[in-house]
Homo-oligomer: 248 residues x 2
DNA sequence: CGGCAACTTGAATCGCTTCAACCCGAGTGG
DNA sequence: CCACTCGGGTTGAAGCGATTCAAGTTGCCG
């Protein structure tokens, strides 16, 4: 919720730091390393490709600001977003030697990215990275479930709940309300639908689910209740004791 | 006893070992550790669940024989297979502390599984595991692309090519022909379709694509050409130079 | 002002699901 | 021995959900 370490109980001013601190206690050295890296953040224009499928992915980086997507192109020109990348997410983090990128990463908005500090000497960073990777994998599985077994409206609401959940971790969503920079066409690429149909489902969701979307900001009336309604549980990747996802 | 190291150039007698040896050079100690683990393989009946979503996943294991699936259940009772697990695949391998399984793993056929030797003291095993994990991730991305942007027939052929590719690595497929233990209903769960429609697409594929499927064995006339036709490239996760996974 | 990208809406078409019936081979038990 | 069931495969017909194509709107920016 609040950044873990010590001093501030206010939401961290930097969303990316806020997210990573929420994944694992960073300690003074981890925080310092990240802040040093953050100061080297560079700007990337929208539509720029950060990683090309089939090429060497380059050094690991952290998304500081803006949204990106991992994307797969089909021969017929249609696109499928494999996952969305939000502030605090890591890219180009690989375990195997001599890695080759398995997907293209493209900036959906203007972006700020910084190098991800090496975690070789910083166990606290290493475990934050491991958590981040585990969470990313879990959301990939969610994406498969969405595309495989949900209809258009379920997919849309499911994804909005995921975004709310992930942005909350970085302090970028409050009470089911968050900045939403994607166009309907980009939503369609994420959902395996056409932009036209996303538009229709959106209209329906506004009517039936208390969804507000003015083009810049999304507000979900009651995220928890909506999650129950469409059968979506929050993603959890560690912590043996039952969290309070209780249905008593 | 020995498999890769020295004497035989024939395919290794144990498919699981064959696959892991193909991922990274195992060396004598790695091979020995795996063979010791293989001798502890146990039988699991079909339909048994090996890991339950939301619970602690238990110790890492290797699938020695048979097929399994990672599966997500929907509230309405429909199932979606997230990935198929074949001989040589690892399960319950996590990087984060105190992990919680993000998907259920269920045996699709009768199974033999053995414990996966710890890789803490065996760098060669560690890199084989890392490769295995990277490959698994890559196939998850393929699954997303399949479900998001392919029609039924494309999905079916795409998956069959994936299976051919993966089984080849373990020495379980030759010239596009392999044992196929899945029912059409299980294929449907993997493809996000209904069993009825899988049946129809199969019939069409037999007519139009030179596919043979007698219920136990699948044969693809020309896997390479079919891959080109439907726009599928072999999965590759490392090695800047082009590998050849050639099917000569 | 024109031009462009994103959003909106309608109508026709298509792909897949749904529901149904039927076939077949492998047990199983009277 | 045959009637029975049961899981898996096969096929037809009807219905619906999503796509496609097309036209029109809005807002933004040079």
């Amino acid at each position: 919720m609040s950044s873990i370490p010590s001093r501030r109980s206010l939401p961290a001013p930097v969303p990316a730091l806020c997210r990573l601190a929420a994944l694992a206690p960073l300690g003074a050295t981890g925080t310092a390393a990240l802040e040093a890296a953050l100061s080297q953040a560079v700007d990337i224009p929208a539509r720029r490709e950060l990683i090309l499928e089939g090429s060497h992915p380059g050094e690991p980086r952290i998304i500081v600001k803006g949204w990106a997507a991992r994307v797969r192109m089909q021969v017929d020109g249609s696109r499928q977003f494999l996952s969305l990348l939000l502030p605090g997410d890591l890219i180009a983090l690989f375990g195997q030697p001599d890695p080759v990128a398995t997907s293209t990463v493209v900036a959906l908005t203007a972006l700020k990215v910084c190098p991800a500090p090496s975690c070789d000497r910083l166990p606290s960073l290493a475990s934050a990275y491991a958590m981040s990777k585990a969470i990313e994998d879990a959301y990939l599985l969610d994406q498969i479930g969405r595309l495989g077994r949900l209809r258009a409206q379920g997919r849309l609401l499911h994804l909005l709940l995921e975004l709310n959940e992930r942005l909350s971790l970085a302090g970028l969503a409050q009470n089911g309300s968050f900045e939403m920079p994607l166009t309907q066409e980009q939503m369609a690429d994420a959902l395996g639908l056409t932009a036209v149909h996303v538009n229709r489902m959106l209209k329906q969701a506004r009517r039936e689910c208390g969804l507000v979307w003015d083009g810049r900001r999304v507000s979900i009336a009651d995220p928890v209740q909506l999650g129950v309604r469409i059968g979506r549980a929050p993603v959890r990747v560690s912590g043996g004791r039952r969290q309070e996802l209780s249905t008593p």
